[in-house]
């Protein structure tokens, strides 16, 4: 009788081994450089420069349009995972000239979680830009990870 009780308790407790796992990724798997856009020039404001602003990279097959992507006068860019230099070109239908922003960064492949897999984090070392329509730039946060976006301010 005592042995049967032992075996029953043992087998019943084995049921705890059967557990269900959730294989869904609930985390952000892209890491962003948040770009705040400010227009100080009244001519640009009057021309609604930002509404026709688009950003693209020579390696992309598409562009980002401020009018579509804007969120509180900012938009989010992803740096290149293939290279340690990312080039963005800023252009607007209201302006003949364009500007090129070149960002130098380090890339780090990071294991986010078993469900989400790997992501790329970035650390911005420096940047250079042309200043045709851009007036100034200010890097606020150069460490880009899934926990925190990078942050740069661009003044036109």
């Amino acid at each position: 009788m005592k042995n049967s009780v032992h075996i029953l308790i043992f087998l019943a407790s084995m049921l705890f081994l059967i557990s269900c796992g959730d294989d869904t990724c609930n985390l952000e798997t892209e890491t962003f450089l948040k770009v705040e856009l400010h227009t100080a020039d009244t001519n640009l404001v009057n021309e609604k420069f930002l509404d026709s602003l688009s950003i693209f990279s020579s390696e992309w097959s598409d562009s980002i349009y401020y009018s579509e992507e804007k969120d509180d006068s900012s938009l989010s860019l992803i740096l290149s995972p293939n290279s340690e230099i990312t080039e963005f070109i800023f252009t607007s239908e209201t302006e003949e000239q364009k500007d090129t922003l070149k960002i130098y960064h380090q890339n780090e492949t990071v294991f986010l979680s078993p469900e989400c897999g790997f992501i790329v984090n970035y650390k911005i070392d420096t940047f250079i830009s042309t200043y045709n329509i851009i007036d100034s730039l200010k890097l606020l946060n150069g460490n880009i990870s899934s926990n925190k976006d990078g942050e740069i301010q661009i003044y036109f």
Binding site: I9, F10, L17, E30, I64, I78, P81, T109, V110, G117
Partner: protein, 235 residues
């Protein structure tokens, strides 16, 4: 008013019962202390058996976690069926194939500690607590890593391999019953607390052999063992 008095009476009855229970509990502990004090004087520590065990819970991985295989064995020496010196060790291997990456982990672990049997009535069985210090050495690698990024498309990252060690402390509460002569079945609920190692900001271990999920500093587990005991000095 009558209802209020009944409630009041019931309350006093509960308080009285609680006090009696507490007194009885304290008295039984006092008796235990006397019992153990006498026993310590009367009974010298004697080797009553050496147990070899296999963690059969690990075999369930073949059914429920086909991407891992792990083995764990235990050795303990039994002093008066009250104190047990314990050494446990094992090996774990994980091979996960996902759409966006493959992950492999392989390593060994060892745990050293003791168990204390709180049972007095059945001298061959066990119901008690255990404490262990564990160490694991393992490596983890990932390949075929692909990351989908908006605008940039699919990025293939180079393979990653890293070696780790990890230390943890564990406390357990469990039972072992002698189902046939010298054959025991047992299970234990375990709390593991990670002490050091086993962390990496970029490539966090998926699993620490012998410990569990690498990202958790506190881990709960259940072990299921079957043992064979070589008896010594058994009456």
């Amino acid at each position: 008013m009558a209802i209020y008095q009944v409630i009041k009476m019931e309350k006093y009855k509960y308080i009285f019962s609680l006090l009696i229970s507490l007194l009885a509990f304290s008295y039984s502990f006092a008796q235990d202390d006397e019992f153990y004090a006498d026993e310590k004087v009367k009974e010298p520590l004697l080797l009553k058996g050496i147990k070899f065990g296999v963690n059969v819970g690990r075999f369930s991985d073949f059914q429920f976690k086909p991407d891992r295989s792990s083995y764990e064995a235990s050795f303990d020496f039994n002093l008066n069926n009250k104190y047990f010196g314990v050494i446990e060790g094992g090996y774990s291997e994980i091979a996960i194939e996902k759409d966006k990456y493959n992950l492999n982990s392989e390593g060994t672990f060892i745990k050293i500690g003791f168990d204390y049997n709180m049972l007095k009535k059945w001298p061959t069985d066990f119901l008690g607590i255990g404490l262990r210090i564990g160490r694991s050495d393992f490596s983890q690698s990932a390949d075929n890593i692909e990351i989908d990024l908006n605008h940039w498309g699919n990025y293939s990252s180079p393979s990653i391999t890293k070696s780790f060690d990890a230390y943890w402390f564990e406390a357990s509460f469990g039972v072992k019953g002698e189902i046939f002569k010298n054959i025991y079945l047992g299970w234990a609920g375990i709390v593991r607390v990670q002490l050091s190692g086993g962390k990496d900001a970029d490539f966090q271990p998926y699993d620490i052999p012998g410990y569990g999920t690498g990202s958790k500093s506190l881990h709960l587990a259940v072990n299921y063992y079957i043992y064979y005991q070589i008896p010594f000095n058994r009456k």
